[in-house]
Amino acid sequence: MFRHLLKLTWKRKSRNLMLSLEILLAFAIVFGVAAFAARYAQLYRMPLGFDSNDVWSVTIQAGDNGKTRFDAGVYDSLRRGLAELPEVSGIAFASFEPYAFSTYASDMRRDAKAPQVHTEMIEADDALAGVLGLNLVEGRWFSALDNGSAARPVVINRRMAEAMFPGVRAVGQQFIDGEGGKTTVAYRVVGVVDEFRAKGEFEAPVNFAFQRFEAGRHDGDIRTIVLKVKPGTARDFERRLNARLKLIRNDWAYQITPLSTGRKAMLHTRAMPLVLISVIAAFMLVMVAFGLFGALWQNTTARIPEIGLRRAIGASAAGIYRQIVLEQFMLSSIAIALGLALLVQLPLTGVFGESLNWAVFAAAAGLSMAVIYLLSLVCALYPGWRASRLSPTEALHYE
């Protein structure tokens, strides 16, 4: 049966080649979209490392383009002034808040000879871990104990600990800034958090480090206030918060956003490309379905004499039906096998790195195979049924 089908397909190879090519292309497109979606689904289920509920951020716009330095007194007056608001339960400072579109990254290394580890960073004060609900698995968060420490204290995530200090306990280790030859800053690990993905649910895990900020000791200031508010604080708190901030410093402007708003904006921005390519791919699939349907219809029409002959020498209607559907099935299988052979090179060569890991590849391959098989089955049903219904006499007289 199988060899028979193969022979028939081979007989019409130039025609089938074009059909297979079309299915192959459609498969590749569905695979791309499915891999994108599968990766997002995978990322969405990974732990985030922080809790964004009831957290607000205030960005200070001092209008000096970051040139002047805030001294410790400025931070203290902000802390004291905001703590007086009954809604506020925690106050921390950071260079930017989670879900912000900003990134600060640098290449770090253990010593001058070690390989570089690309690391995203933010600067934070001693209260950030409490406000964001960070989960420390080793060591501790920053505290007054770190005052005056020669190497800059950092808390890193587990991913970075494994990349930088494989097989060693990270707490207490030191590393340096890998950029430039002369002025290197040394960092000392005081704690490890299990995970931190600052850009939210759709961000791939990165190496992350929090650097301790001490007012007046570093090149820049940290100008984002991260506030934990009491559960159930409504949006109109923003007005009272702004009025209070204006009381503290009148010449600054403040941009206040609940993290939930930032989260929505970030998820929206990240999901937009997926939605767009899905819509376009859906259009293409509809078109491919129409095209396959048309081509199969014409195919069976062209093969009416052959079908008539088969019927005349005793093939059943069901047999004809099965032949048409199976031929199409085989054609799709050849195209899919070829497509998989090509696509498997992607995770093998690792061009997309972690984004196209084997789990994603398997999910995407399964999903796109199901879609393509379903599509070719649906397209073959009607032409096959039509061919099986032909009476042998009519078919033999055709043309």
Binding site: D251, A253, G294, W297
Partner: protein, 415 residues
């Protein structure tokens, strides 16, 4: 001869209505996607509406500073001082405007908080961009000089904050991030690179006047030329000006570079070009877009090839007769290509109508805020061009196959 082709084509199309319909649906689906993309590009880059004068203005959005050893690079928007001291006195241009990039601002009304995008702009901004004023007035140089706390809203924002006619908003006071502004004007919604914002206020309404002394900051400059032919000259002028800028920290930053870009250049610079040289990479960007469109056509074209090959098999008797009577292969191939292109053009017309409907729907659901799409004649032209390219792409292979049919076999029906 063409008339005969047309007649034959018509007869063939009508003989198998279902296949013609399937063919058309495939063509229309492809062309709709391509035309929506074209129309978006047209809206973004062709001078129209509020940026109707964009063929003779240039913008400077980013400045790049390099350190002496070349290891550190800083890119930031311009500072106000740079625009005022270096760009505004530039000879041979009509005017130069300064505006901030839009940034989030909260409007407080009683217990209600509305998140808005706000720009601070000077009086020249209103003279370079053609906003349609619905009520009130636009800020002028006197307002800037006096530092009046005034604001202009767009129609949607005015409607949200003060329901009713646009005129109802004029004269009202709003609290933006703790500053009190009087609304003096309402303009029509606009979505363009330089026009987009919900609220505009004069630059002099900043709480602190430190911005006046900064070379780096958060401003963009718009330069309006007298004629569009002046633009290349102005671009070179700006390049020279940038070379002469000395940063506040000359020990750290050695060179300063910024470029006056047209809208296409700006987009190209942000995506493919980089900010190191005058050439923005616009040519490369256009080539990439064209290549992406051709690539996108590949699957639909294959689809159409398959359908057309089937159709030829049905017409082999006709082809055999024509060959037997002396038609050459190239004549037959030409005929099929013409038929295919005709079908694609017909599909193109339907697609154009569908695109208009789709764009109207996108505008209605506000996929992109304030975006207004219009199907201009240019989009029609591009659409037809795309349809023709698509027709050729998908017609050539079946035509070549058809012209190779042996007349004897064709007539006997054994292909």
């Amino acid at each position: 001869m063409l008339r005969n082709y047309l007649l034959t084509a018509w007869k063939v199309f009508m003989r198998r209505k279902l296949f013609t319909a399937i063919n058309l649906v495939c063509i229309v689906l492809t062309l709709v996607v391509l035309m929506v993309v074209t129309s978006l590009l047209e809206t973004a880059f062709r001078p129209s509406g509020v940026e109707g004068r964009s063929e003779r203005f240039l913008q400077i959005v980013m400045m790049r500073m390099d350190s002496h050893d070349g290891n550190s690079v800083s890119t930031t928007p311009l500072g106000y001082k740079l625009i005022e001291k270096f760009l505004k006195p530039m000879p041979g241009v009509e005017r130069v405007a300064a505006a901030t990039l839009p940034s989030g601002a909260a409007v407080y009304q009683g217990e209600r908080v509305s998140e808005m995008q706000m720009r601070r702009v000077d009086a020249d901004y209103w003279k370079i961009l053609d906003f349609t004023l619905l009520a009130g007035r636009l800020p002028n140089a006197a307002d800037d000089a006096a530092g009046r706390m005034i604001a202009v809203l767009n129609a949607t924002t005015a409607q949200r904050l003060f329901p009713g006619q646009p005129a109802a908003a004029v004269g009202q006071h709003i609290d933006v991030g703790g500053q009190n502004f009087e609304v003096v004007g309402v303009v029509e919604d606009a979505m363009h690179v330089n026009a987009f914002a919900d609220i505009w206020a004069p630059i002099s309404t900043f709480a602190s006047s430190d911005y006046r002394n900064e070379l780096t900051g958060m401003f963009v400059a718009l330069i309006l030329a007298e004629r569009s032919a002046d633009l290349p000259r102005i671009q070179r002028q700006v390049e020279q000006i940038a070379k002469g800028v000395v940063q506040a920290d000359p020990k750290k930053w050695k060179t300063t570079r910024f470029w006056a870009d047209s809208k296409l250049d700006l987009f190209a610079r942000m995506t493919v070009g980089g900010n190191e040289k005058l050439d923005s990479g616009a040519g490369l960007l256009l080539a990439l877009i064209a290549a992406a469109m051709l690539l996108f056509m590949l699957l639909p074209a294959l689809n159409l090839v398959n359908l057309n090959t089937g159709r030829i098999m049905e017409r082999r008797v006709e082809i055999g007769v024509r060959k037997a009577f002396g038609a050459t292969s190239s004549q037959l191939a030409l005929q099929l290509v013409v038929e295919n292109v005709l079908l694609c053009l017909a599909g193109g017309l339907i697609a154009l109508a569908a695109t208009a409907g789709l764009l109207a729907w996108l505008e209605h659901i506000q996929l992109i805020n304030y975006m207004r799409y219009d199907l201009s004649l240019a989009v029609f032209g591009w659409g037809m061009l795309i349809a023709t390219v698509f027709g050729l792409l998908s017609g050539v292979l079946p035509a070549w196959k058809m012209s190779r049919l042996d007349p004897v076999h064709a007539l006997k029906g054994a292909a």
